[in-house]
Each structure stands twice: as C-alpha cells, then as structure tokens.
Amino acid sequence: MQVKINGKAEEIAGGTVLDLLQTKKIEPQMVAVEVNDIMLDRSHLGTTSLKDGDRVEFLFYMGGGR
C-alpha cells in the first residue's frame, strides 16, 4: 500500500507506525509522529495501524541555534 511520508509517496508493507519506524531504523524516542494531522502518543505507536493513503509526518528533534 501507499502512504505519504513527510510529503513523499512511499510503498510500504503495512503494519503499525512502530513497524514503519523499525523498518526505517528510527528510534521511537527520537521522533514525534503525526498520522493524518493527528499527533500520536508514543504509547500508541505500536497499536496504530497504517492504511492506504495515510499521511505520516516524522518530526525529529531539532536542537542547535547558538
């Protein structure tokens, strides 16, 4: 199925948001995840299944500035 990840269409196997993070080797503690404009609580990453057409946004921490 196809989802949009950070604005870019990608083919994925399906599964939960946590599965997607693991496939992409993203540490769940280092990212905030929105699905269809709704921010997910980290405790719900493993229970939220992705559907065809979902829009996923990964918001990484961005420090720096000085």
């Binding site: 540490e27 503690q29 905030a32 946004e57 921490y61 961005m62 420090g63």
Partner: protein, 270 residues
C-alpha cells in the same frame, strides 16, 4: 513619542507600508524583545531587529566569542574572540542603530532567573543550542504568558514555529520531554552550515516583528522546516495537545524546572 527627522528617514521604507505606517513604527519603537542566545540564530535576529528600530533588545548569553562561532554568528567579529557575546552584541546593535536600548544578561537562562527576565519583554526568541534550555524557554513563556518564536538548526536543516501560550501548540504539545541523553550527539559533533542561522534567525525576527505589529498570520500551529540541501520548505500542521503536561487540561508541570542535561547536545536524526 515623536520621531525626529532622522528617524523618519531611517524608518521611511517601513512607514511607507500601510501595514506599518507611523503608528506601527511607534509600536516597534516601544517593543521589547528578548533574545535567548546571542549566537547563530540570535545574530541575524539581533541585527535585523536593531535595524527595524526595536526599542529594547535583551541579550542573554553566558559565553565568550570563540573562533569556531564566527562561521555563523555574524553579530561577532574576529576581533571579538574572547569577549563576552553580550558585550560584543550590544556594540554591533548600537553601531547599527543607536536608537536601540540593549539590556545585557551575561548568564545562562535557568529555572531560577527565567520568569524574572522574560517578564520584562513582549516577545521571546529562542536561539539556544540545547534541549533543556529549549524546554525551559517554552515553559517560562507559558507561565509568563509571552509569545515565543522557537528556532532550531542542525547540519542542513532548520525549523521555526511561533508559540502563543494557551492559544497555540507549545513545544511540549509535540515533543513532551527532551530526547534521552544517550541518543543525542553534541552540536560540535553534528555541525551546521553557517548560512542556515541567517535563514532561520531572520524568519524568527520576521515573526517577532509581526507579533509586535499585530499583522499577518503568525506561524502558530505550524512547524516550518527548511532543508537547505534541497532548498525546500515544508510546513507541518500541529495542534494543541489536550493532554499536554504543561498547557493541557490537567497539567502536571506547574513550575519551572531544568528538564534533562543542558550539556547533552543537540543532534536530531537517529
């Protein structure tokens, strides 16, 4: 308050704008903006806000200028190496525009001094380099009821968002807590392309000016992420989190504290 002929000339291209005019320029002249960090993001913000004629600019920074700062911190010159950033910054601001009053705080922002300092200002600009300070600024602006223009830069990526307490999503609505220290690399390890500070810091200054003037649409409930490699902006809509520990319906954070280790670093991607 009346402008002199020189001031009318200096600010004429502002005054010509219907959204600013003489009335708006007076708002700018009365405004007080606090820059937390007189470094990468604080430098362009300080210079443009000074040029704009902001009445009072507060500079808070405990550091001295280091040679490694100069590729991005354009408020400081080679001859300033070793001098306190707030002193160097004040000189540049006032050389550019002697109308501007500069208040110097040669210290770190802490849970002890934050509310007292921030309370004197209309708008706060985040130009710090660690997550503990970013969360502290977010929390302090919430408790003080002051709008905050948040910024971050790392490698080739930058981010800006504006936070109006109790009206728009705060930093904790999105990120809750600083990342675990074990997963964070130091800024020195990570690196940053210097010009990025100019892009992001200047957007922060734009947001601050809009807040002062009360014009346009603030960058609230939106994260504006910039990718310098692709020269691409991306806007991510965010919302207030009703369960936010700070600004939610049942807050668990009721006073300022230092969340995490201020020396843990600033890196972003795993």
């Amino acid at each position: 308050m009346e402008f002199t002929d020189d001031q009318i000339s200096r600010y004429s291209r502002h005054i010509l704008l219907p959204e600013v005019g003489g009335k708006g320029q007076k708002k700018i002249a009365k405004a007080k903006i606090l820059l937390v960090g007189a470094g990468g993001l604080g430098s362009p913000a300080a210079l443009y806000l000074a040029a704009a004629g902001i009445g009072t600019i507060g500079l808070i920074d405990s550091d001295v200028v280091d040679l490694t700062n100069l590729h991005r911190q354009i408020l400081h010159h080679t001859s300033d190496v070793g001098r306190p950033k707030v002193v160097s910054g004040k000189e540049k601001i006032q050389a550019l525009n002697p109308d501007v009053k500069v208040s110097m705080y040669e210290e770190r922002l802490t849970s002890g001094n934050a509310l007292k300092i921030i309370g004197d200002y209309d708008v706060v600009i985040d130009g710090v380099d660690n997550f503990t300070a970013k969360f502290l600024i977010n929390d302090a602006c919430f408790f003080a009821g002051k709008p905050l223009v948040h910024g971050g830069i790392l490698r080739f990526d930058g981010r800006v968002t504006t936070i109006v307490p109790k009206q728009s999503a705060c930093y904790r609505c999105i990120f809750k807590t600083p990342p675990p220290p074990g997963l964070v690399a130091s800024c020195q390890e990570a690196g940053v392309i210097g010009v990025l500070a100019g892009i992001i810091g200047t957007i922060q200054a734009t947001e601050a000016l809009k807040l002062v003037l009360g014009i346009g649409q603030p960058l609230t409930n939106r994260f504006l992420d910039f990718d310098a490699k692709k020269t691409q902006f991306r806007e991510i809509k965010v919302k207030r989190n009703p369960d936010c520990a700070l600004c939610g319906a049942h807050p668990t954070i009721t006073e300022l504290f230092d969340d995490g280790d201020p020396f843990a670093g600033c890196a972003v991607r795993p």
